[in-house]
């Protein structure tokens, strides 16, 4: 709907939507993670006390409340811990037109103790199995950002 407030200014009102842009400092540890993505590498952190490996990385272990500032290079492969498939747009702001199946996976990279939420690609939803081995697919244009992870695909066929 467009309201004419005066001759020179139009105000567009979009029902139910607000724009709320904001910036965040990603921090020292996530900066390193983003730098790693730029080189097509996963960099995690390790808890100085219990040795738990975090990916995406954090600078602390919530359980030990100890520093987790030791960086550790991790491989491009991992296992599918959990998944879900939806054809409903995740966010109206970003994927309004997505109508095909989106496969959401919780992927635990080999050597990490945590899993990250990423797209799963190049597989039919009915062939998905928890525990299957996956490998990262990098985006065409790498820019040092989470979008560099195009997704994960099965290793060695299904």
């Amino acid at each position: 709907m467009t309201l004419n407030l005066d001759d020179e200014q139009d105000v567009t009102i979009t029902k139910g939507m607000v724009r709320a842009e904001f910036n965040f400092w990603v921090g020292i540890v996530m900066d390193k993670f983003y730098d790693g993505l730029q080189e097509k590498k996963f960099i995690g952190t390790k808890c100085s006390k219990c040795g738990k490996v975090f990916l995406p990385p954090r600078n602390r272990c919530g359980d030990c409340f100890a520093k987790a500032e030791d960086f550790i290079d991790l491989p491009e492969t991992g296992i599918l811990k959990n998944f879900t498939v939806t054809n409903i747009k995740i966010s109206e702001r970003k994927s309004r037109n997505v109508k095909k199946d989106q496969i959401v996976g919780l992927v635990q990279i080999d050597g990490a103790d945590t899993a990250m939420i990423v797209p799963v690609l190049n597989i039919n939803p009915e062939d998905l199995k928890t525990g299957m081995k996956l490998k990262v697919v990098w985006a065409k244009n790498i820019k040092g950002h989470p979008d560099d992870i195009a997704g994960f695909e099965p290793i060695g066929g299904v």
Partner: protein, 376 residues
């Protein structure tokens, strides 16, 4: 713990679009709670609201709710979590000795904003938000898969819980009509639209606008105000990590800890036999079971047996209507009605010890649980 009671309450009948302003709804609820308790606004010493700035579309949104909330020229504060957390804030103010009567309300109007899309603002801005795959549907889908896989259960088992909830909602006059399904079948649930596998539409609550308010009073005042005080005899509140990839989604560690603490305070040794009614805020039919098991009402993976006892969510739970910032408060009021013997049409006979819970976060990251008791 000193005794604090719930002495009055009011629920605005929720709906998909009530066509009232939030302040009109809020005034109906707070005025209604005062009238229910036979109190005047002057009797209140503090008002605690629960709502969320990004649901309201304006910052410090409680500043607009001062008059309608009953807080004009009074001590007032807000919680941006669930209404059940606002009750703890009110409880703490009374237990501090500095306040007597506390009005607690929760309010939101999800008919005015795209709730699932707005949940992107709950996600980690450095990873999950740019990846943009996490919302209530996908989190609920992964949680349900984890639960089914961990205990060898089927989608049909969760459909049975949904049927149970929707049939209970049909008996609850304050459930939204869209959720009142007295003839629903397991097949209908299993054939409803997939939200995010294996989660289906009829296993997920319907969003609605609503307001719930209640009044808390310390023991001396409570006994004067009502002959049916419902005492808060225990409370527990624990937080899990935000990251779903760190957690075992088949259970709820934060609910386990919270319930353990609440039971310890209330002197409950065997929740399975001692608790007659549980009004739990689950985000899906599956999460109802996960939370009930974590609260010790059934063994892990055996929560389905609770639907035969009828003591889990006799009101229909959030499947009777889901209002962000209000859900936990409504669960508390529903448990209070059971203890007072006023749950007309869905009363559990002999209910005198209940639990009620609230939560925030994906897959119930944060849980708060109350033990509520009637009698002396």
């Amino acid at each position: 713990m000193d005794k604090v009671a719930i002495v009055g309450f009011y629920q605005v009948k929720p709906g998909l679009d009530i066509m009232m302003s939030p302040y009109e709804m809020l005034f109906e609820a707070t005025r209604g709670a005062l009238d229910h308790a036979g109190l005047k606004r002057d009797d209140l010493s503090t008002v605690i609201g629960c709502n969320n700035d990004y649901y309201d579309g304006k910052t410090i949104s409680n500043c607009f709710k001062v008059e309608a909330g009953g807080a004009y020229m009074k001590d007032e504060s807000k919680v941006e979590m669930d209404g059940a957390h606002a009750v703890m804030y009110g409880l703490m103010r009374i237990l501090s000795g500095n306040h007597k009567l506390a009005m607690v309300y929760g309010i939101s109007t999800p008919s005015c904003f795209p709730y699932e899309s707005v949940r992107i603002l709950e996600t980690d801005p450095t990873f999950d938000r740019p990846i943009n795959l996490l919302n209530g549907y996908t989190a609920g889908g992964m949680q349900m898969r984890a639960y089914l896989n961990a205990f060898g259960l089927s989608e049909e088992d969760i459909a049975k819980v949904a049927v149970y909830n929707l049939k209970n909602a049909a008996k609850n006059p304050l459930a939204i009509p869209e959720a009142q399904k007295s003839n629903i079948t397991v097949d209908e649930v299993l054939n409803s639209e997939i939200l995010s596998t294996p989660l289906r539409k009829l296993m997920y609550p319907i969003l609605c606008d609503g307001v719930t308010a209640l009044i808390l009073a310390p023991e001396r005042q409570a006994r004067k105000i009502t002959d049916k005080p419902v005492w808060i005899t225990g409370v527990g509140h624990f937080n899990d990590t935000y990251y779903l990839g760190d957690r075992d989604l088949s259970t709820s560690s934060s609910m386990e800890k919270a319930a353990e603490k609440a039971y310890k305070i209330a002197g409950i040794n065997d929740p399975k036999s001692e608790i007659n009614v549980a009004e739990l805020f689950g985000h899906t039919a599956c999460e109802d079971l996960i939370l009930a098991e974590a609260a010790g009402l059934a063994d892990k993976g055996k929560g389905l047996s609770l639907i035969d006892t009828g003591k889990l969510n006799p009101s229909g739970g959030t499947m009777a209507g889901y209002t962000p910032s209000v859900n936990g408060l409504t669960r508390i009021v529903e448990a209070v009605k059971q203890i007072r013997g006023e749950a007309e049409g869905y009363q559990i006979s002999g209910a005198n010890k209940a639990i009620a819970s609230g939560q925030v976060g994906f897959c119930a990251q944060n849980n708060i649980i109350y033990v509520l008791e009637g009698g002396e």
